[in-house]
Symmetry: none
Subunit: 406 residues, 2 copies
């Protein structure tokens, strides 16, 4: 039996007055999810712990069975992996913004006018920076964002950010956050990187062009969110599962890669509203032929939640539901539908409200709850579980759990 884990990012919500105190999931028309639910056991899940409002990265780690307290140091490593960089244990990864500073290093624009073109050229120039004793890789990401991989002996992720948080202030010195010599060394390297980035970028042709066009130049990088690649046992070693991932967003691809999943690229699959839902589901069905475990991620409910747009959230849920139609005919596959966290439209950010979950398949103790939403799930046969419980429960249902004791 194979496992298909569908994570609808930010799916959970709170009651919305305009929907007569329903949630978007409760209000959506979702015949396919309902059909699936008839062979499912439902429940609610605290992905990290009750009352803990998680970021997507720690929440996914927990759902994959990896204690975020042990494996999560920051989002950078997952972004870097998702961008296709190869990392080694001990690599320290920063996220950065391209920003605009004056010649006294006072920040004029924290995002360099949300620069979105030619950042690859800028990263290429940054990769010529050479600092003794450390290897550096700069890689551009979406818009003004990017990552820096720092590889070498004696590095630490316990260092502070350099973005002063508002304009008119000087770039912050990176400082050590613990008394170790590794943290001191790393903080000094970060400060050197900021300095060197200004030297390399200030007269770069991309920036000369930008200035000509009246745009703020991307003349410095502001590293933040230091993180470290921890040693980790992947899905194959830990669960004996050959796993793959279908996702649009970089972060999710990176999280999947971190736990040893193969990232499958699906044309048209993005982390935006314009994603091709059907292509992703079709690719998942295909993947189930050669993988034991498929992680399918949809980002759009979270986007709608963060936009505070409940109508859009309903629409997105309906689009997902429609795309899931072929799954309702699957047998020999355990299908899990859940979320990494709630993103209530009323607060436009993550909340700790537990997420609904259903586990569907022949071998499952299906409950008598009809349908699938936050309220119904709370009455289901799974009751209330935690993210770290999920993988052990799934492994048991597909009869892959090892016996404990005799």
């Amino acid at each position: 039996m194979r496992i298909l884990l569908i994570v609808c990012d930010g799916l959970g919500d709170r009651p919305i007055k305009e929907l007569n105190y329903k949630t978007p999931l409760a209000a959506a028309e979702k015949p396919n999810l309902e059909k699936l639910s008839s062979v499912g056991v439902k429940g609610i899940m605290d992905t990290v712990a009750p009352g803990v409002r998680p970021g997507s990265a720690p929440a996914h780690l927990a759902i994959f069975g990896y204690d975020p307290g042990k494996y999560y140091t920051g989002r950078g490593v997952f972004e870097a992996l998702g961008l296709g960089l190869e990392l080694k244990e001990g690599d320290v990864v920063f996220r950065f913004n391209f920003a605009t500073v004056d010649d006294r290093m006072v920040v004029i624009d924290r995002r360099a006018g949300r620069i979105s073109e030619h950042t690859g050229e800028l990263a290429k120039a940054l990769n010529d920076i050479s600092i003794p004793g450390v290897e550096l890789v700069f890689k551009e990401a979406v818009e003004h964002r990017g990552v820096i991989v720092m590889r070498g002996e004696g590095l630490s992720w316990k260092v502070s950010d350099t973005d002063p948080g508002k304009t008119g202030l000087r770039v912050k010195k990176c400082e050590q956050l613990d008394p170790s010599p590794e943290a001191l060394k790393t903080a000094n390297l970060v400060n050197k990187i900021v300095e060197e980035s200004y030297r390399v970028l200030k007269d770069h042709w991309v920036n000369r062009d930008r200035v000509k066009q009246g745009l703020p130049p991307a003349n410095v990088v502001l590293p933040r969110g230091a993180s470290i690649l921890t040693k980790v046992e992947g899905f194959k070693e830990r669960y004996k599962l050959k796993a793959s991932c279908i996702a649009g967003g970089t972060l999710y691809k990176g999280l999947a890669k971190f736990v040893g999943m193969e990232v499958l690229n699906v044309p048209g699959a993005t982390g935006t509203y314009e994603t091709n839902y059907k292509a992703k589901v079709e690719a998942s069905l295909k993947a189930l032929r050669c993988f034991d475990f498929v992680f399918l991620h949809f980002k759009q409910a979270d986007l709608a939640g963060e936009d505070g747009d409940y109508r859009r959230k309903i629409k997105v849920i309906q689009q997902i539901d429609e795309a899931l139609k072929p799954l309702t005919f699957l047998d020999d596959t355990l299908i899990v539908v859940t979320a990494d966290h709630s993103t209530p439209c009323s607060i436009k950010t993550h909340s700790a409200d537990p997420v609904p979950i259903m586990i569907c398949g022949e071998e499952v103790r299906r409950d008598d709850v009809e349908g699938f939403d936050e309220f119904k799930a709370a009455r289901g046969g799974l009751n209330r579980i935690r993210g770290l419980d999920l993988m052990p429960i799934l492994l048991d249902i597909v009869n892959l759990a090892e016996k404990y004791g005799a």
Copy 2:
């Protein structure tokens, strides 16, 4: 959004045959609790852990979000704080009984005839006891009870009690309960206190009067239940909440003070059946105007449970319900109704049966369970939580939870 936490001490119960297997809460008429429940999510809660039968002090600590395994050493510190004594970190506090001994220190009455008058005079005399290297404060409490605060270097709470548990036996020597020199020192101090208390009390005018009246003299103190004031971060620092407490009983005031709540004194509010329920609710409504968090405590359901009087328990619940009427019109306040533990009338003491809980307010994922009792709550949308989960869940609902990771 503000939070009103209503703890009905000992509210939970077991099915009572005479009530056709309902509990007192299920049998009570409680229109206001029912009205509140319609905008609430219900559940059951193990205040400490499943099957753990907690005292009121550890149960309240857990509900307030303070791990009793870390912060609970005994009830003494909370009693002392509730009696208005100012404590410092490291103070060791004992509870004591005034008792009657003969001149060989054999206990004749463990409660000195439940002495209730002039114990303040006796405590005053005891405060003249001077033992080198330690500061002592004696303070009388209800009836034959009191507390002793011991302040000094190198003290420990790991020492045994002195009450032999029955009459006809000599006062027990206080012994060290761990091999530390601090425990030895403290045990010796306790034995010295017992000896000195006899010297000071035996010819005190209060006792000479009692003997004349044929009453047993309160001629010794029997310290027990050593506890220590641990370092603690209050509600303000930990949760950024300005908190206050409305309670009748000393213990509850002390628990509130321990976690940094301001204790508001309400005329007519007592920990007895004669409390003024309405005055307490009105004071809570007033307090909600200037505090972010109000803890309102009712002791009476616990008293009725310990009396084994289910009719009285029903009556008390109905009195509480009536007093709560003004709350059903509150908005912009999260109202929580729960208990610290169950006190089944059938066993007249605390049990580990989970307590019912409901969290009511606009932002809450209200469930479709109508009403509020142990059985209905178990079907609610919260499912089963633990005491330590409560504060994180509440902070999330009022959007004060910090995000974990990105």
